[in-house]
Amino acid sequence: MLLNQFLFLAAVLFCIGVYGVLARRNAVLVLASIELMLNAVNINLVAFGAYRHNIAGQVFALFVITIAAAEVGVGLAIVVLIFRNRASIALDDADLMKG
C-alpha cells in the first residue's frame, strides 16, 4: 500500500470538513464537520505510525480522540445554551458581538 493513498483520503476528508464548517449554519452540523476534520488528522497520524513502525502515531491519535470527546461535550453544551436563550441554533443569528 502506498502511504499517499491514506494521506490523500485524509486530505479529501479534511477539505470536506472545511467546506462543512464554512457552509453550514446549523451549529450541530458545524460540530459534525469538525469531527470529520479531526478524523482526517487521526488517519494521518495512524498512517505515519504504521509507516515508521512507531507506536507514537497510535498514542497521539488516542489523545486526539480524547480531546475530540471533550470538545464535543462542551460544544454541544454551548449549543444547547444558545438554543435556550435565542430559540435558534443558526450561527447567522448569533451575531451579538458584531459591531
Partner: protein
C-alpha cells in the same frame, strides 16, 4: 497486497461519499447517521493498517459515545426531523472554492513529498505496546488529558444546567 488495495478503495469511496452527504444533506438526523458511516470507515482503515487498539477506541468512543451526544444535541435543540432547506448559509460557493484550493495545495505537497513511499503494515502494533508507551514515556500527557476531560465534564454540566 492487491486485496488490501481493493478493500482500501471500497472503504475510501464509501467514506468520501458519506462525508460529502454529511455536509450537503438537508436532514440533520441523516447527516449525523452518515457521520457514523465515515467514523466506521476510519476505524476499518486503522484495522487495515494493523493498529488494533485505536480501532476499538474509535468504535467505543466515536461511534458509541460522540454520535449519541450528537443525536442528543439534535433532539434537545428540536431540529426539524424532516427536510430543512435553511441548513446552509449563503457563502456556499466561497466555501467550496476555499476547500478546493486547500485540497489542491495538500495534494500537490503530498505527492511531491511522498511520491511512492510504501507502507508495510505487516507487523501488528499490539495493545500491550500502546499501554507500555502510554504509561511510560507519555505518562504526563496522559494525566494532563485526564484532568482536561474532568474539566470538560464539569464545564459542560455547569454550562448546560438550568438554574
Amino acid at each position: 497486497m492487491v486485496a488490501q488495495n481493493v478493500v482500501f478503495g471500497i472503504l475510501a469511496a464509501v467514506m468520501v461519499i458519506s462525508a460529502w452527504k454529511v455536509v450537503t444533506t438537508k436532514n440533520v438526523v441523516r447527516a449525523v447517521l452518515y457521520l457514523v458511516v465515515v467514523l466506521a470507515g476510519a476505524g476499518a482503515q486503522y484495522l487495515l493498517l494493523a493498529q488494533e487498539f485505536i480501532f476499538v477506541v474509535q468504535v467505543i468512543v466515536y461511534i458509541g459515545a460522540i454520535v449519541v451526544l450528537f443525536l442528543f444535541g439534535t433532539m434537545l435543540t428540536r431540529a426539524p426531523i424532516g427536510r430543512d432547506v435553511r441548513l446552509d448559509n449563503d457563502q456556499r460557493w466561497l466555501a467550496a472554492l476555499t476547500s478546493l484550493f486547500l485540497l489542491g495545495v495538500l495534494i500537490a505537497v503530498l505527492s511531491n513529498a511522498f511520491g511512492d513511499t510504501h507502507v508495510n503494515a505487516t507487523s501488528v502494533q499490539r495493545t500491550a505496546d500502546v499501554a507500555n508507551s502510554m504509561f511510560g514515556p507519555y505518562l504526563v500527557p496522559f494525566e494532563v488529558v485526564s484532568v482536561l476531560l474532568l474539566a470538560a465534564l464539569v464545564g459542560a454540566i455547569a454550562i448546560a444546567r438550568r438554574d
